[in-house]
């Protein structure tokens, strides 16, 4: 199994999905347990990669290569390096948590569970593939595969405006990715010999004009996914309407695909264009950070607030990317991971509350800290992590990002620091409105968080805390690759 580990990681969920298809519709328990087991097995496989992955090397490892479409020199090419490994791990982690969260989720429990878990596992395969594919064509395929289950998961199991949100998400992302496809083709035809192979493409040189155009095409695809201001408007809708576990996946993993794309493809392929667009990206990042923060501040819907906070936090990732130096990259990649865990947790917490109260209106709550002390503690924990409290992972990543961006532009960093302040504001304001103050008598009978829900949150907390206290545990995996990337971009490490 270890010889094709990456394939197994990618396709185990798919196998699970097809097993589910074969089950009768009413075997709810079986369906749930098989889905959960599949995600767990996938996670186990990811863990198998730990001893095999040599953290100190920068190249691709565990590479699997097979010719797929020889006419276009398209390969089935999977590989893992310090950029994708954390993302794959994050995906496995978040998937389990989301799957656990699904077990309890009201709308999922209602019915059509088979379809739900089928799509869920299909989604996981898509995401895994996206993070592991090294062939541009293969990457694109996985990238697109992610869209479809997402459409259904939002569209069928979503909230009141689910259809609108689902199609908006779908069209928006599709439009972006179509341009990315054009970009991919341009890269292919611009390469000599023609290939989609990332490992070869990275060493080729293109003219600046070509780079700029293709970078923009890729940018469109990735920026919409991240989402970068002003392409972010699908995000609040999709997040708010999606069922909790799907919001978790969406915020926890899906958004990372965009920034991952920058690191994996845009930067090594078009270093000159990347430098050319550096200021633009920095500005967009800062706008995203501040803008997302302000808009989050104005929200009365808990989930929407968290959604906009994602815009702000992903802005930090972009800022780190825009910095184009060692600290910036490390910060960005770490922020991708920590935002995945933190925001995933926040969405789970939104779900916990919504399942009980059936509302997400922040002004409707108050004083829940008394009724739900454990919930309160965890919510505070995640909020603090999100606002970048030292000792939790959010701080390390934001610190590194700022450190990196500071070396690039002081002004941008200064402005981005406003985002940190804003994060504190909207998160604490949220806490104040939900947990503190007088208990709204309406909620006097709300039960505290239960063990199932707790089990979805505690692992995330462990990671947040672990990384926050000793970031080396994860950064050691990232740094050689990121430094290598920086070197190929022609920058000093």
């Amino acid at each position: 199994m270890t010889s094709h580990l990456l394939s197994w990681i990618t396709f185990t969920p798919l196998i699970g999905a097809f097993v589910l298809l074969c089950l009768p519709k009413r075997a709810h328990d079986w369906i749930r347990w098989i889905a959960l087991a599949t995600t767990a097995i996938t996670a186990g496989l990811v863990c198998l990669a730990f001893p095999l992955f040599r953290a100190s090397e920068s190249g691709f490892q565990l590479v699997e290569r097979a010719m797929w479409i020889p006419q276009f020199n398209i390969q089935y090419l999977l590989g893992m390096d310090g950029i994708s490994f954390p993302m794959v791990f994050l995906t496995a982690l978040i998937s389990i948590m989301a799957c656990l969260g699904s077990l309890a989720h009201i709308r999922v429990k209602g019915g059509r569970e088979k379809e739900y878990y089928f799509l869920f596992l299909l989604l996981e395969t898509g995401i895994m593939g996206t993070f592991l594919a090294l062939d541009l064509f293969l990457f694109y395929i996985f990238w697109e595969v992610v869209l479809v289950p997402m459409y259904f998961l939002i569209g069928i199991w979503g909230g009141p405006r689910k259809e609108y949100a689902a199609i908006k998400f779908f069209l928006y992302t599709l439009a972006g990715s179509l341009f990315m496809l054009l970009g991919i083709l341009a890269v292919y035809f611009g390469s000599e010999p023609r290939t989609f192979d990332m490992t070869l493409l990275a060493s080729m040189k293109y003219g600046l004009v070509f780079q700029k155009i293709v970078f923009l095409a890729f940018f469109l695809g990735f920026a919409i996914k991240v989402p970068i201001f002003p392409f972010h408007t699908w995000l609040p809708d999709a997040h708010v309407e999606a069922p909790t576990p799907i919001s978790v996946i969406l915020a926890g993993v899906l958004l990372k695909m965009g920034t991952y794309g920058f690191l994996r493809f845009s930067y090594p392929l078009f270093p000159d264009a990347a430098r050319w667009f550096q200021p633009a990206m920095g500005v967009l990042a800062v706008i995203g950070i501040i803008y997302g923060g302000f808009v989050a501040l104005a929200q009365t819907d808990f989930k929407k607030m968290v959604a906009y906070s994602s815009v702000s936090h992903m802005g930090f990732v972009l800022l780190g990317l825009a910095a184009m130096n060692a600290d910036g990259f490390r910060g960005a990649l770490l922020q991708m991971f920590s935002h995945g865990t933190i925001t995933g947790g926040l969405f789970l917490l939104v779900g916990v509350l919504y399942d009980r109260a059936h509302t997400r209106d922040l002004n409707d709550f108050g004083g829940l800290g008394e009724k739900m002390p454990v919930y309160a503690g965890i919510l505070i924990f995640f909020s603090l992590a999100s606002l970048g409290l030292p000792g939790l992972s959010g701080f390390v990543s934001e610190f590194l990002t700022l450190l990196g961006s500071f070396q690039y532009s002081k002004l941008m960093t200064g402005l981005a620091a406003i985002g940190i302040l804003l994060a504190a504001t909207y998160l604490l304001y949220m806490i104040q409105r939900i947990l503190l103050g007088k208990l709204n008598p309406k909620w006097s009978s709300l039960p505290d968080i239960n063990y199932l829900e707790l089990s979805t949150l505690v692992p995330l907390m462990i990671f947040i805390l672990g990384i926050g206290l000793y970031p080396k545990i994860i950064l050691d995996y990232m740094i050689p690759t990121l430094d290598g990337l920086l070197k190929t971009m022609g920058g000093a490490v």
Binding site: Q71, I141, V145, G155, F170, L174, A175, L178, L182, L185
Partner: protein
């Protein structure tokens, strides 16, 4: 090659021809008209077996009237698949269950014959004859349901529009003949290069293109398509969306290859514009449709626009793109129409609203439909994506950036309306009045499985197909 020698390469055609007559005879003999259908299927199978891949060499049959090459071979296969699938759909299509059912199969065998000759036709006369043959049969089949006023109207419109276009095309052919002094495509090419003949030739070519444009429902010759597709019996619609269209593209490709490759830069502009126009019109109009057949008509116009991209950038890659796209489209669209047939069989109607809650009434059907719609949208790893990939690749390779961008935007728009159907099937709850699905009839189900298998395998292992098609 003389006529007698040629005959041994003409066996499939002969089998089908004989089969067609046989079907008519059988129609007299048997009560159970279904037997005629099964017989027709066997004929098709036999013809398919008799086909040989010329594998690289070009056989010049009947003194060069036919050019049997790899290209023609695969179009013939294409035609056989299209016709066979249509036959299978027709066998479980309730409105066709009347005393003329046998004739329907017979006519379709003739259709198969006409189609497989088109691909190999290598001079203007043969092209004209084959195209007319297909057209005339199409008119008849469209109006086959005698008592359906819509079908009649469709047939009339088809007839009138088609005949006028044929007339224009014939006029163009006559001009080309005059300019070139020959109806051999090769000669036409030579004369077109001389400047003295260019005006005459240009008008002739444009007239010729008009006729072909009608066949492939290229804007501005597309307007018949929605009405005809809506009115025709559903299996016929299924066939019309792929069969004549593929034929038109086959001829188009062959003409472009043999006649226009040197002066292509000139025609490329026209075709690029037409391609953009076609896909845009198709997509924009498809958005607001309420009838699923009409919806697919506009979708097919848009798809024609994408296929035209391959011709607009007339590189070898572009030619391949046309072929691949057509195959992808064949599987996808026939599969989608199989679903339409099934739903129509169950509910008797073909409005989009009749698909509400299909995912609950018949999960499998809805699932297949979703697969086909996703393929039409161009979502990997399905056949439609490979087609899209090919045309985009051709466009990018040919540096037709504007075309590629327009196509990309169009694809996104298209996604919207394809997902409208998916939305209706999955997100809209079923209405109380809608009938539940009984057990689905056998043949459309087989079609569903076969076509979806085609869609998925073409999507997953395009390399194999590409190798098969182009060596």
């Amino acid at each position: 090659m003389g006529p007698v020698e040629s005959l041994k390469y003409f066996i499939p055609e002969l089998i089908i021809l004989c089969g067609a007559f046989g079907a008519f005879l059988l129609d007299f003999a048997v009560r159970n008209k279904r037997a005629v259908g099964i017989f027709s299927l066997f004929v098709m199978a036999a013809a398919a077996f008799a086909m040989k891949n010329p594998a690289g060499e070009t056989l010049s049959l009947f003194y060069g009237f036919f050019h049997l090459d790899v290209f023609a071979h695969w179009f013939r296969i294409f035609a056989l698949i299209a016709v066979s699938v249509t036959l299978m759909l027709a066998m479980d299509y309730p409105p066709l269950k009347n005393r003329y059912e046998g004739e329907f199969y017979g006519l379709f065998l003739f259709m198969a014959f006409a189609l497989i000759t088109v691909a190999a036709a290598n001079n203007l006369l043969m092209i004209f004859l084959a195209v007319e043959f297909v057209s005339l049969l199409s008119y008849l089949l469209t109006g086959f349901l005698k008592h359906d006023p819509k079908a009649k109207e469709a047939a009339v419109k088809y007839l009138l529009f088609g005949s006028v276009c044929s007339g224009i095309m014939l006029y163009g052919i006559s001009l080309l003949y005059g300019a070139a002094g020959s109806i051999e495509l090769g000669h036409v090419w030579q004369t077109l290069r001389s400047p003295s003949m260019s005006a005459l030739g240009t008008v002739g070519v444009l007239c010729f293109f008009a006729g072909l444009g009608f066949k492939i429902s290229m804007a501005p010759f597309h307007m018949w398509a929605p009405d005809v597709y809506e009115g025709a019996p559903t299996p016929v619609t299924a066939f019309l969306t792929v069969g004549p269209k593929a034929l038109g593209f086959a001829v188009f490709t062959r003409v472009l290859i043999t006649v226009f490759s040197p002066s292509f830069a000139h025609w490329g502009v026209v075709l690029t514009a037409l391609s953009m126009l076609t896909m845009t019109i198709g997509n924009l109009t498809a958005i607001s449709q309420t009838n699923i057949k009409r919806f697919f008509a506009y979708s097919s116009i848009a798809q024609a626009g994408y296929i035209l991209m391959g011709l607009a950038v007339f590189s070898p890659l572009g030619q391949n793109a046309v072929m691949i796209y057509l195959f992808a489209y064949l599987f996808t669209n026939l599969g989608a129409f199989a679903v339409v047939c099934l739903v129509e069989g169950a509910s008797g109607k073909s409005n989009i609203s009749d698909y509400a809650g299909l995912s609950e009434r018949s999960p499998a059907t809805a699932f297949f439909m979703t697969v086909f719609l996703l393929s039409l949208t161009g979502i990997p790893p399905l056949a439609g994506f490979i087609g899209k990939y090919y045309v985009f690749a051709a466009a990018i390779e040919g540096k037709a950036i504007a075309l590629a961008v327009v196509a990309a935007v169009n694809s996104a728009v298209a996604a919207y309306y394809y997902f409208r159907i998916i939305r209706v099937m999955y997100l809209v709850p079923k209405a109380e009045t809608q009938p539940t699905f009984g057990t689905s009839p056998l043949y459309p189900k087989i079609v569903l499985w076969l076509m979806s298998a085609g869609v998925v395998t073409l999507g997953l292992f395009p390399g194999y197909f590409i190798k098969l098609l182009f060596g």
